[in-house]
Symmetry: C2
Subunit: 390 residues, 2 copies
């Protein structure tokens, strides 16, 4: 449950940024934006003036929103006729998160609030959400711990001849029993993710996913994640899963091999570990996101693995880490073109990986907090490849 | 895999509707819209002129899109400078699905295609998708059959004292092993669903979900689906799951009781069965969607159950059935205000349910095809409440 103090702190941070941008009020309608500030994910919209108290307008369920949210001013969603009258008429320069709000919704609120205009505040809202409070860090540590505990069980069930799908089903089952909430929220348009990936050679494909590995999936309708391919011996098996506990998402990848591993792949894995450690040490406030990516790409290049770093040759992702929190794809991104400084208490999944056609996918991923001493891991599961007997 | 013939038939149906509306071309960017017409869910946009051949522009993965799609003209996504030049300059009145396209995406394409303007073609695209081909009906029958086979296994694992979450995890595990693709696509803004629901008394709550039952869920961040509540004896246990196989979604609900059932709830269940049968018989081409809902609500009213039909008193959903296909919430909706005729080969999940505060949730759901003889069920699992020994 979101406390009143925490809600107020979040609202105050947003208000400062709204004032800087000359936006008089934010109308937040994306469920996760509402949840972050109001502590409820009911069907509701949240009005946050740049100066003053927020107001939550609830379509459904009003009773549940009242139980869950520390916002004081909670009302039923007004009728079309009354809608405009519930807002302060002096506030006409409004903000909305255009990255995720559909055109129809934007048109509805534009008509419902005549004489006002909306600007895009996606980056403001996402920046506020990227810096985690002590409460949120505790939630993320819990999420990472639960996720790691399920990863630790993999040797109990992973066997050659299982389908990738069977491995994924075992992971998903254990994660759910541990309290995983299932639905993995992503903000980016066109992205979808179900739990994560269990892939072997089926991971060395291209794909729509904005990450290094998409997986073959089960059909052209769901071309991501595990496939019906059998888990082979002597090949890398990559498990990449998101933990979702109390809404908070952490991200982790570990490698497994049944039998022995091609030395070229072992070397690529060692390079991934070195890159992770370089990035971890550099993850301090004021470090420039893009520079961390470029340094990582340069290490891959020097190791002769530049063409398969972060994706299939020709389809390489241009990042090495992504913010996580209430969404899998929060700010910041350790990416090309992202020339902004890190902030203390941002939380980032760092995932150096290589996709080597014909050989497989290999790499590592852990979630870290940005601190003055560099990245601090949220869980302590060992990184090494887990070798199982064939 | 989508055949070339089937893709052309779908495109031709859309083109007829675009011509009727004076729209010169559709620019489809929502993944499932692209998939429906082009057979691939890579990161791509699809241009369908009202007269002429479609063109698929692929961001990632181009090689996979070419393998999967029967569209002839497949190209890499053009650079910003070249973008406008790849389209026929005479086509300036364009359509986009404003129900799901974010404002930022709309702005991007508006800037990239100067001198053109977009109108909303959501309802056109959704109407085309609502009428299923013989190939799609086969896919839906397969989906319903797989889903029913997992429902048939419930008596093997359902026990008192399990958490709702444990029951859900068992369902999800079996569905995944059967080939369920996991991610359940919904089109409506603000809706999220993970697999389905396993709820007992925890289902008799309000919630954000646009359906009769939301479930308590695991936290205020994920307030839907199974909770940590224990499965009790002598109470109704409702399992409502979506099957997703080769992208095609069917929807099914069955009731389970460990021990005996309150006669009032048994009577409510019998009313739900009667409503389902009434709706089934009426599901013929040209029947008016709204009238089917009103007839269903009237039967509930006559049985003295009007105030808990399709939801908590005060939070009742105003529908009794929803289209399914590549999305869980397709057209048509058997709903108040939906005064349009049914079309042959639309596929609808009919789900009369009652939410009785303090007692629980109860009802039935099956997926039917609209035919001249009324609704034809997609699977033949018996409807009756399954009683297990306490």
């Amino acid at each position: 449950m979101l406390t009143k103090t925490e809600s107020q702190q979040r609202v105050t941070r947003l208000q400062g940024m709204l004032q800087n941008k000359g936006v008089q009020a934010a109308l937040l309608i994306l469920p996760i934006d509402v949840y972050y500030f109001a502590g409820t994910r009911q069907n509701a919209v949240l009005w946050i003036p740049a100066d003053g108290l927020p107001m939550l307008l609830v379509r459904k369920s009003l009773s549940r929103a009242k139980e869950e949210s520390p916002i004081e001013d909670i009302r039923p969603f007004p009728s079309s006729k009354e809608f405009a009258s519930v807002f302060n008429e002096d506030q006409i320069a409004l903000g909305m998160t255009f990255d995720a709000v559909p055109v129809q919704q934007h048109s509805f609120y534009t008509r419902a609030l005549p004489g006002r205009s909306f600007v895009d505040i996606s980056m403001i809202v996402r920046e506020v959400m990227s810096v985690k409070s002590p409460f949120e860090l505790e939630q993320l540590r819990y999420s990472a711990g639960k996720l790691a505990s399920v990863f630790a069980e993999v040797p109990q069930f992973l066997k050659a001849g299982m389908r990738e799908l069977d491995v994924s089903a075992e992971m998903e089952y254990r994660l759910r029993k541990a309290g995983h909430e299932g639905y993995v929220r992503m903000r980016a348009f066109n992205q979808e993710l179900f739990f994560g990936l269990a892939v072997s050679t089926g991971g060395a494909n291209g794909g729509f996913f904005d990450g290094p590995v998409t997986g073959k999936g089960l059909s052209s309708a769901s071309p991501h994640g595990a496939s019906n391919d059998e888990i082979p011996v002597n090949k890398p098996i990559l498990l990449d899963y998101a933990g979702v506990f109390n809404g908070y998402i952490t991200d982790m990848t570990r490698m497994f091999v049944i039998g022995t591993l091609d030395p070229e792949l072992q070397r690529a894995f060692d390079v991934a570990i070195d890159i992770q450690e370089m990035v971890r040490q550099a993850m301090k406030p004021d470090a420039i996101c893009e520079e961390l990516f470029l340094a990582a790409a340069s290490m891959a290049e020097q190791a002769g693995l530049g063409s398969c770093f972060m994706g299939m040759p020709g389809e390489q992702a241009k990042f090495v880490g992504h913010g996580v929190g209430l969404e899998l794809d929060q700010l910041p991104v350790l990416a090309k073109g992202f020339a902004v400084p890190l902030l203390a208490n941002q939380v980032i999944a760092v995932e150096p990986k290589f996709v080597i056609p014909g050989k497989g996918v290999i790499g590592i991923e852990n979630t870290f907090v940005v601190t003055d001493e560099g990245g601090v891991r949220l869980s302590d599961l060992p990184d090494g490849i887990v070798f199982l007997e064939a």
